[in-house]
């Protein structure tokens, strides 16, 4: 006879403790802050949902959210097609495979703040190579510290440089898993290169591409360090993305209540959009 009891649950305890300390408890602290007001000295006043209402109605939040969506949309629109294209061009066997893989992986190995500083120095007019080249060789007025468009272009190019590799590597993994017979069959069926891409390569890359898009969405939507180091959110507020604004409110102004409310809204949006992405991209999968 087998004894039936609930002792198996004890095995889950370590995970519960771990998750509690690294996610649930900090999260609950944020929830706690988001419904209260404090003037210091550890004195709190109940505030209800006022902060949420205030944040959602504020022009500042809406503008930052708009910039955030714009930024994410731009980098996804560039990195995904570019990543697929690069992955398709990479050799599938031979000497160049490891060389390409290492070259691709290099940008991803560099820490965020280093990437920010690198591009900052690189893009500064007069000092940086890119800045010097644009202004003094090409004669284009390019100054990311003064010009909004220049600042935007710089953060977008920086992100593309840093993260396209992720899409490339994931797509490449999908591509190399396609057996040769598929390409041979396509040749025999007289398929064009486009048809091979559309009916063989793209479907086989779909799973990894879903992961790539999700990761890139979440990462770019939560991006902080690189634009903060590069432009500091400027010029003006032009590159102040959600997370930069959030840090300004929380640590700059020390408005813990509104900052907590904003964090939760931010989190909810990220979660919601990720869920929509995932549901849409996997909806016609066979069970």
């Amino acid at each position: 006879m087998k004894t039936v009891n609930n002792r198996g649950w004890f095995f889950v305890i370590p995970v519960v403790i771990l998750v509690a300390f690294n996610a649930l408890i900090p999260m609950m602290t944020v929830v706690n802050y988001s419904v209260q007001e404090t003037f210091g000295n550890n004195v709190f006043f109940w505030q209800g949902l006022d902060w949420f209402e205030q944040i959602l109605r504020s022009d500042r939040f809406q503008a930052a959210l708009g910039r955030q969506f714009l930024f994410t949309a731009i980098i996804l629109a560039i990195e995904v097609p570019l990543g697929i294209a690069v992955a398709l061009c990479m050799p599938r066997k031979g000497f160049w495979v490891p060389v390409c893989l290492v070259l691709m992986a290099l940008p991803m190995l560099i820490p965020w703040n280093v990437v920010g500083s690198m591009w900052n120095i690189f893009a500064l007019p007069k000092i940086g190579m890119l800045g010097y080249f644009m202004n003094d060789v090409l004669g284009v007025n390019y100054d990311m510290t003064q010009n909004r468009l220049a600042a935007w272009i710089t953060i977008v190019v920086m992100d593309v440089w840093h993260w396209t590799s992720l899409v490339v590597l994931l797509c490449y993994a999908g591509l190399v898993s396609i057996p040769d017979a598929y390409y041979q069959a396509a040749k025999i069926d007289g398929a064009s290169n486009w048809a091979v891409f559309r009916y063989i390569q793209l479907p086989k890359m779909k799973t990894v591409l879903t992961i790539a898009i999700l990761l890139r969405f979440m990462d770019s939507f939560n991006i902080y360090t690189e634009p903060f180091v590069l432009t500091g959110g400027g010029p003006g507020n032009s590159t102040t993305l959600l997370s930069i604004d959030l840090v300004k409110i929380a640590l700059g102004q020390f408005d813990l209540g509104p900052a907590a409310a904003m964090s939760l809204i931010y989190f909810a949006i990220t979660l919601l959009v990720s869920w929509i992405f995932y549901t849409v991209m996997t909806k016609d999968d066979p069970s």
Binding site: Q184, A185, I188, A191, Y199, K204, P286
Partner: protein, 357 residues
Amino acid sequence: MARVTLKNLRHSYMPDPQGPDDFALKGLDVTWRDGGAYALLGPSGCGKSTLLNIISGLLTPSEGAILFDDEDVTQMTPDERHISQVFQFPVVYDTMTVRNNLAFPLKNRGVAPDRIKARVDEIAEMLEVTEMLDVRASNLSPDNKQKISMGRGLVRDDVNVIMFDEPLTVIDPHLKWKLRSKLKELHQRIKLTMIYVTHDQTEALTFADEVVVMQDGEVVQIGTPVELFERPQHTFVGHFIGSPGMNVLPCDAQGSHAIFEGHKVALEGAVTGHGGEVRLGIRPEHVRIGETGLPAQVIKISDVGRHFVVEVQIGESRLKVIVEGTAPTQGETVNVSFIPEKTRVYRNGWIATEVPK
């Protein structure tokens, strides 16, 4: 549809092949008539897949030529050759429906839509997949996927040759038989030249009118299943075909007799040639246990259902005998005799007895 001719075909995967060992195919001269069903049979690594890829145009041979009827197609792409190939693992376009899968080769060639529909319906009916036409191909079972791969070859009416590269590898045993007879039936209906590559003798012998047995990049024998069984040209064929394979025993040749373990054994005809390694070849089906003959001791008996496979020892040699009815008992001493018309001598592997008049 076409006759296929291979002229002195050699292929090496190395850039600069030196000796014959560097070649995966060592000089093939074969002609396959239009509308025939052929099998390429051989163990893994014998070069049969290489040959198949050369015929389909996925590989260009190092030397020699391939002719479809009288046209040299050696340098043509698979598309230009109008061939079709079914692979070991079913290849279907996952995101398409069965209908679109079948229509794909026609669409790529710009065939008119109503013609495509007619062809697809016809082929679907032939393959018995009509009710699945609107199912997504990724949801099919392996045997149905393999049917669709086949269908994509059959749907075109400009196909010269259709080739099968071990197409039943991933199919469940009970469906193998079904699919195999379907193939045979299809061949009888549409009379296309078909080449079937396999390492499974049952598949080869049931499918093909003529079987090409290959070993180490060479053709060892081409013949009907009956010829391969009745008169193997090489000990390899004798051993590879048949279950159990032919007994290959050390012996000496003397006139039109063989001396086997000190006994004189009658052969089908006079022995040809001199020297080399001489072997006696006799199929287990052609050995009799009876009142007269060579004294032998029964070592092992296995009941394989329809008959018994009895292993006996004569002197230093062991041979297998197929016994119908009642089997002798283990350890018993019996007399075995060989049917002279089926008893042959092989020299260095190749048959060395004259055909009886």
